[in-house]
């Protein structure tokens, strides 16, 4: 479907954490296809514990997949020190809490220069640091280089973290909840920055969040994750305006300003990756399944029949109860 090679993709990726404390192995990522095209912003949406952060970490090479692979410009990622080092110039991670991501005893200059220094890029380092700071919206950069994290506001700290990522001139950034710890008025400014970087320097991004509004604000495509799998994917307009999967519908209905008459509250607790239900993993909490007639139940068999892993491109929802969906194409 896509014209170009994706800059970063996950292919049939699984990450299984070993058993701990008497529980079975945790299938944090349980078969995911996801691709980020050149100059594309993809939002990965899910609740805590759905495996979205593990997937993000696998995509930047911090977690080794149990099976499947991460591909960078179509080439499978290898986990030797040298290939990972080269990969870091291509893909950079931005973490949730900027206060924790910055070394309190390191000046802004050193925080931003650390990446290029590790990669031996000492020529023109000053210029590179200044350019990165200024791209991240810290202007003029001279006002910031000698400051320390505690002298900056939360929004400025996040800009420093972003500048540090930009200093290696990556092709993709993977941002894990980049605005979750920021104030409402600052949130929009950081999102504007990510959107602006795409428009100005063609930076691709995967933004991991629990916030559907964020996807509406900046993303081109969105993938909704539930218990280790992507359950619905497509363009932002398709997924957020015409959701197909009951989980996506429920997530949208509980937004405070959704305008939905009666929000679909899911009962039960957040799902447990050590005990993934058989069949459709969402069926124990699915309102659509609970309301299904006995014929529908026999036909759909959500409680027994497994769903295929969705393809990375196009628009799909992993649900047996959708009559006319694109599911059949997605195996």
């Amino acid at each position: 479907m896509t014209m170009d090679q994706p800059v970063l993709e996950a292919v049939d990726l699984t990450v299984v954490h070993p058993p701990r404390g008497g529980r079975g192995p945790a299938r944090a990522v349980d078969g995911v296809n996801l691709s980020i095209g050149r100059g594309e912003i993809v939002a990965l949406i899910g609740e805590s514990g759905c495996g979205k952060s593990t997937l993000a970490r696998a995509l930047v090479g911090l977690v080794r997949p149990t099976s499947g692979e991460v591909r960078c410009e179509g080439v499978p990622l290898r986990y030797g020190a040298a290939s990972l080092k080269a990969f870091r110039r291509h893909t950079q991670l931005i973490l949730q809490d900027p206060g924790g991501a910055l070394n309190p005893r390191q000046s802004v200059y050193d925080a931003v220069a650390e990446g290029p220094r590790l990669h031996g890029l000492r020529a023109g380092l000053d210029e590179q640091v200044r350019r990165s700071l200024s791209r991240a919206g810290l202007r003029p950069p001279e006002d910031f280089t000698h400051r320390f994290p505690h002298e900056l506001s939360g929004g400025q700290q996040q800009r420093v973290v972003i500048a540090g990522a930009l200093a290696l001139e990556p092709t993709v950034i993977v941002a894990d909840e980049p605005v979750a710890s920021l104030d409402a008025s600052v949130r929009g400014e950081i999102l504007k920055l990510i959107l602006g970087l795409r428009d100005e320097v063609g930076l691709s991004a995967l933004v991991v969040s629990h916030d559907l509004g964020l996807a509406w604000n900046i993303a081109d495509r969105v993938a909704v994750m539930y218990l280790g799998r992507i359950v619905e994917t497509g363009t932002v307009e398709e997924v957020l305006l015409h959701p197909k999967h009951p989980y996506t519908k429920a997530l949208l209905s509980v937004l405070p300003n959704s305008g939905a008459e009666a929000p679909t509250l899911l009962t039960g607790e957040a799902p447990d990756p050590t005990a993934i239900p058989a069949g459709c993993r969402f069926h124990p909490r699915c309102g659509r399944w609970a309301a299904a007639s006995s014929e529908e139940r026999t036909e759909a068999a959500c409680d027994r029949r497994d769903l295929p892993v969705l393809a990375a491109d196009g628009s799909h929802a992993a649900c047996h109860l959708l009559r006319s969906n694109a599911l059949t194409e997605s195996v």
Partner: protein
């Protein structure tokens, strides 16, 4: 009937060189059974304001003004009277139930404690009431003896709500009750809380940074910026037609999905909230305000009435400064 009257409430904290004002003259009224949402960003003073109502601030904080609860000034009353008011007349749902519950005491006992102290009933009656409360928040009686760490975040927050309602208070102050929770759990907890307070006719002051959540829960909203109220009014009107530019910015920060205006157009507010130590003359919001006038930097702001039950601390609501939309100087 007016349950709570706050008059010119101010809170300041001592810091290294002097005092840093956190709340600078807040006045508001709350009727019996009414729900008020207080919105603002971190550092706006909303938590200091709410906790000072029940004198829950640390010793370093200095509070002045009046907090009249059913006509009695809580800021000047004696400590024994204050202890009687807490829990039985007014209670608090703190943010982060994780830290607010005692980790080494079963939750059932923690709920019984205020009931036995304030209702002066025996252990058995308290237990009956506690089980009833747990049931009302959807936690089975079998979990009475469980410890906080055995519950999920959402369940812990529901235990906190059960505790806050234990002595049938007239007022509940909820400080960011759902901040650390997932969207789905947040919706569950909010709906539960809304149903319980409505049934019992309890007045609520709910604090959050999320204007949309507050608008859904509360009859009226108050927006705080740099320790002051900048806008006050009925929820629907305040969100639909904000009169203060800060309220407008806050409400735009959380987009409505499907609204073409916010698609690929995140909305923020340049600049950072002012530090308490560096508050100049005039409107504290003027340095970040997209429609500030010269007069904004000189004239002292107050909450001017701008419509039925609405007030805003913005010169633009005054006839002599009101300008056509979009014009700025």
């Amino acid at each position: 009937m007016t349950l709570l009257q706050v008059r010119d409430l101010a809170v300041s904290y001592r810091d290294g060189s002097g005092t840093a004002p956190a709340v600078r003259g807040v006045s508001l009224d709350l009727d019996t059974g009414q729900t008020l949402g207080v919105a603002g960003e971190s550092g706006s003073g909303k938590t200091s304001m709410a906790l000072s109502l029940l004198r829950l601030l640390p010793p370093g904080a200095r509070t002045s003004g009046q907090v009249l609860f059913e006509g009695e000034d809580l800021l000047s009353t004696g400590w024994s009277r204050m202890r009687a008011v807490r829990w039985s007349a007014a209670s608090v749902v703190f943010q982060g139930a994780m830290n607010a519950l005692n980790p080494v005491q079963p939750v059932g006992e923690q709920i019984c404690e205020p009931i036995m102290l304030h209702d002066r009933v025996g252990a058995k009656a308290a237990r009956t009431r506690a089980l009833q409360l747990l049931d009302s928040v959807g936690i089975p009686a079998s979990r009475f003896g469980a410890y906080p760490h055995e519950f999920s975040g959402g369940q812990r927050q529901r235990v906190m709500i059960a505790m806050a309602l234990a002595c049938r208070p007239k007022l509940v102050i909820a400080d960011e009750p759902t901040t650390a929770l997932d969207v789905m759990v947040q919706a569950q907890v909010l709906q539960l809380f809304a149903d319980l307070v409505r049934e019992e006719g309890i007045a609520v002051i709910m604090i959050s940074h999320d204007l949309a959540v507050l608008a859904q829960m509360c009859d009226r909203l108050a927006v705080m910026y740099a320790g002051r109220l900048v806008e006050l009014g009925p929820s629907g009107q305040l969100i639909g037609a904000p009169r203060h530019p800060y309220t407008a910015a806050l409400s735009r920060a959380f987009p409505v999905i499907g609204d073409p205006a916010s698609r690929r157009a995140p909305s923020g507010l340049p600049g950072d909230p002012p530090s308490q130590a560096r508050l100049g003359a005039g409107c504290s919001f003027a340095p970040r305000c997209p429609v500030a006038l010269d007069a904004c930097r000189e004239r002292e702001m107050e909450l001017w009435t701008c419509g039925d039950g609405r007030q805003a601390a913005c010169l633009r609501v005054l006839p002599e400064y009101s300008a056509p939309q979009g014009e700025s100087s």
